[in-house]
Symmetry: C2
Amino acid sequence: MQRRKSRKIKAGRLEIGDGSPISIESMTSSDTKNIEATIDQVRELRQAGCDIVRIAIYDEECIETIEALKRSTDIPLVADIHFDHRLAIASIEKGIDMVRINPGNIGKTEGVKRLVAAAKEREIPIRIGVNSGSISSEIIKLYGNTAKAMVESALGHIAILEDAGYNNILLSLKSSNVIKTVEACREISDLIEYPLHLGVTEAGTMLSGSVKSSVGIGALLLDGIGDTLRVSLTAPPVEEVKVGLEILRCLGLRKDNVEIISCPTCGRCRIDIIYITNVLKERFKDIKYPIKIAVMGCAVNGPGEAKEADLGIAGGQGKAVLFRRGQIVGTLPYDDIIDTLTAEVRRMAADGSGNNNTGIQ
Amino acid sequence: MQRRKSRKIKAGRLEIGDGSPISIESMTSSDTKNIEATIDQVRELRQAGCDIVRIAIYDEECIETIEALKRSTDIPLVADIHFDHRLAIASIEKGIDMVRINPGNIGKTEGVKRLVAAAKEREIPIRIGVNSGSISSEIIKLYGNTAKAMVESALGHIAILEDAGYNNILLSLKSSNVIKTVEACREISDLIEYPLHLGVTEAGTMLSGSVKSSVGIGALLLDGIGDTLRVSLTAPPVEEVKVGLEILRCLGLRKDNVEIISCPTCGRCRIDIIYITNVLKERFKDIKYPIKIAVMGCAVNGPGEAKEADLGIAGGQGKAVLFRRGQIVGTLPYDDIIDTLTAEVRRMAADGSGNNNTGIQ
């Protein structure tokens, strides 16, 4: 997968763009003024594998939370600000690592100039966040409610920053409509070199939001487009990180876990694949080493179908065959399946003998 | 979204290809010989919105289940068969609506000829199901373990059927690797006109399997590729149908439900969006009419961001504004939000005044 060429920006210690690992953003849902709750949520997100956390800064009191967070965590922080350039400047002064605004609605030219001066001084990137729902009526009049309108809106916001002498920019174009999101990002990706933050906005609840985000973000990543992403879910923010990680892993863009290939079970299956897989998933969740294991229902097709796995089992009546890279190497009684696989995987993780090859060869 | 031109085939009453609605397949996981359990599972799948159900036919006793199913349900049925062309012929004789085989491993030329004769007589389509794990060693030697090998394998199997004078064919190319699946389907879609069944095989447990399937199947559907699909999950089969429906809906390929656009909540939010959204989702699950509603956390951005919704609310402190297509039309006390939205949506569904426009304009 050839990745789109983009500029590199830096948010605190996190590099975004120009081939950097694709990072995952989430956003706190606690009231920003509740400092303790927000610190807890940021800690939880960081632990789940989040790379950068966004916080809504909606009035001056929220600025105190930025100070408290900067004292308590090293994860890069983004201030999400609407309408008021003074909040953006105050956030930068208190050490925020990025601001997300729309230059077209953050204040008059003078305000943008002041914001740019503050951002320049501390080398703080600005994310221009275009949402299809908040495009100016002038642009909608010209282009309708289309992907093209999102692109034109983005180009307009970029021009404001560039005219003010700034190009430390991250860009996002989001719609709650998956097709529009994909079209807008594909189109803009050929027109500019700024790194892109991907997401489908207001995607919905756990299941439909995960599907929408996976389809939209996944299609763009498959094109090589995208430098950082946020899965938007009406669910606890930590779930957004889990889905984001799965998207990156399934495209070989993050190789930091035990991947379990498991058959969907069918009328041939003689062992409880669902149970075994879920137990193994839980047991392996803290192993950060890339190993691919297979849990297959039948011995006839299992080992062949799961040839790419480092290790696997294929069920039979009351037992399973153990295989490595498609070759059967032994037979296990049913009750030993989980423990044997656990021991083998831990050994591989310890001695580095796994060789997960997610991604096309 | 321009759909790829494909031939039309028919499995029972279900049309696949040539612009037919994209159908959803799942597969029973009960032992096929357990007739009662299998009938129950097929009924459950049908109720969840499944269009066609596959059953593993692994020996002669399984054929009895086909007879029992044909007496109990009108949903089209596919027999999944490996190695033994006689089982395929027996399935066809007992009224199966499609068979899924690989002509290269279903028996010698004579067997394939007999199978084709039986399929021809009853106009039963044959799905050639190529899985990256079961490609012949000759092809792997030539092309490696690649998407190209999957394409060559598919072309080989097609040639066997065409040589036997048959072209009532559905085709699938699946890998547990998302990129390989997408590449193989993109490549073959330009080479043949047979309809394509999409899926990522052995995708894994609920979360990772849903993400993998959404990314792979979604990217292809966005290209206009695909005529029917199966989400493969190591989970109860009915979950596969739910994920499949969400994939189709988020691309505007199925418009049969209340779509809820809901913001992910953030530090600005003053109402319990997660709770409200989940209650509404449950209440609306049986409404088959396309309506788009929005549940947004803040009144400043909510109505604008959710302009495309037929109806929505945007939360404030202890209350919410009600809006239609981005225009605020009233204010609701917090405790009335759920019931008012429910009543409005039911009214719209009853009088046909919703106007969901998923999909690009």
